[in-house]
Subunit: 280 residues, 2 copies
């Protein structure tokens, strides 16, 4: 056996990162995944980069206990604000969601305008614009924070709900008027509202899901490093949350297309033990 049987670690501020897990499991059904959702401190998108970076570091320290071969930052806000620090500090490769989304958007844009919708913190970080410019320095980028879309997705409203459609229209109309070619879903919650976003955007605008692109990037990275598992049976999904495992189970099913069975609550002392120890 030459494959790497270790798990893939994934974290998000809450439940949104499960859209990345869904794509990972579709492409890599044999991989074991350990997921951490920081549901006691969700959302991250309205908080400062200092605070989000601290939270992201603590989440990674927790995931390291499971000896992962790679950690996926399945949260656009944390990817946008904390990735350099995580890469510098962690002994394993780290994959964020911003760069893969930016790369695909640039590839598909054919010189047209790229619009990005995301949380306030992600937009404030300017991470998407910088990432897109890395692939095409002449790209035209417009960015729009959409603070209500995370709570709307978390509330469990469907894409045919009039409230969802009117809020999506409120955010997207000013963007659509600028006639972009691409619309990047720069938050892992947004795929849940994809149908409503597609309806408001219209047929002329292609949607790029940063989570889906990230799953592709993870496959490439593991393959290139010879680190794919050669497990024949289905891989496991084990989830930990810092609050409310019951709510995670209930909502998780909508994100994953199957039920989330194995969810464990971890106390702050457990998941950021390192910080507690350092504060002595």
């Amino acid at each position: 056996m030459s494959g790497d049987a270790r798990c893939i670690g994934v974290f998000d501020s809450g439940i949104g990162g499960l859209t990345v897990v869904r794509e990972l499991r579709r492409r890599l059904p044999g991989e074991n995944i350990v997921y951490f959702g920081d549901t006691a401190r969700v959302p991250y998108g309205i908080k400062t980069s200092e605070t989000v970076t601290r939270f992201a570091r603590q989440n990674c320290e927790f995931l390291l206990r499971f000896d992962p071969k790679l950690i996926v930052v399945a949260c656009n806000t944390a990817s946008a604000t904390a990735l350099p620090e995580l890469e510098a500090m962690l002994p394993v490769p780290v994959c964020g969601v911003v760069l893969p989304g930016a790369k695909e958007a640039t590839l598909q844009s054919e010189g047209g305008t790229i619009a990005v919708i995301a949380t306030e913190a992600t937009i404030a970080s300017d991470a998407y614009r910088r990432a897109i410019k890395q692939y095409d320095e002449h790209a035209r980028v417009i960015q729009k924070p959409c603070p209500l879309l995370v709570p709307i997705a978390e509330e469990g409203r469907t894409c045919t709900d009039p409230i969802v459609l009117s809020v999506v229209r409120d955010y997207l109309d000013p963007i659509v008027r600028l006639d972009p070619k691409i619309l990047v879903l720069g938050c892992t919650h947004y795929p849940l509202l994809r149908d409503a976003i597609a309806e408001v955007a219209g047929e002329g605008i292609r949607l790029v899901d940063s989570g889906e692109q990230t799953a592709k990037a993870v496959v490439e990275r593991l393959r290139a490093g010879g680190k794919l598992s050669d497990r024949a049976e289905a891989g496991s999904l084990v989830s930990y949350v810092s609050d409310n495992p019951q709510r995670f189970r209930e909502l998780g099913q909508r994100f994953l297309d199957h039920s989330v069975v194995d969810v464990t609550w971890v106390s702050p002392e457990q998941f950021y033990a390192q910080d507690f120890a350092q504060a002595r």
Copy 2:
């Protein structure tokens, strides 16, 4: 001088508690107030009672350093879930927002139905129903969680915004059909949306603001205990937040009707030092 010059401590998950501060300052202009907003972990309303109780305890421990004569839990979610534990643990009187709101609603209801809107956690705790039954065991109570109203208020949308009106209508229409006499604003954020709520509720339904009633209850309690300050000049307002003092300053003005000048960021090590110490 016979008055008690010590400050009043006030905390909330974030910025909503400033509506209580506004009412306190209107009634008690000579009192010093120290406010703590737990903006790194906001919102509380989607979290479990265990987690909210832990956060509330840590916030109170921070406020105790300022030697308050009374602590106001200016957060319905924390009042609904953590008040008994806080009362048992704290060496100073504690005033929550649920009981004053429930009392006023019962007084004004004249036997009519009392409707309560609040966060998911507050409604799930059933604290309002229990408190109202304490004053009138035959009272008819209907309760409705409105998860989007906090993020909508925090986003800074005004009451004439079509999104605000359609979301408020979506939550309130099923309540209005049941013809209540009273509608309790069971979240300290909701006074910001008061005009929209009043418009949708119509003239036949009286609004009771739990924050306003709490300010009245604090005055009564301090007066009864001989603990009002006899300061002649205006009292001070000093605020601490666990994240993003800049955002607090910007939004705070809308809550307070005047600018929030003195805001300091405190790190987790500072504001829950006790817990860090105990984890040794």
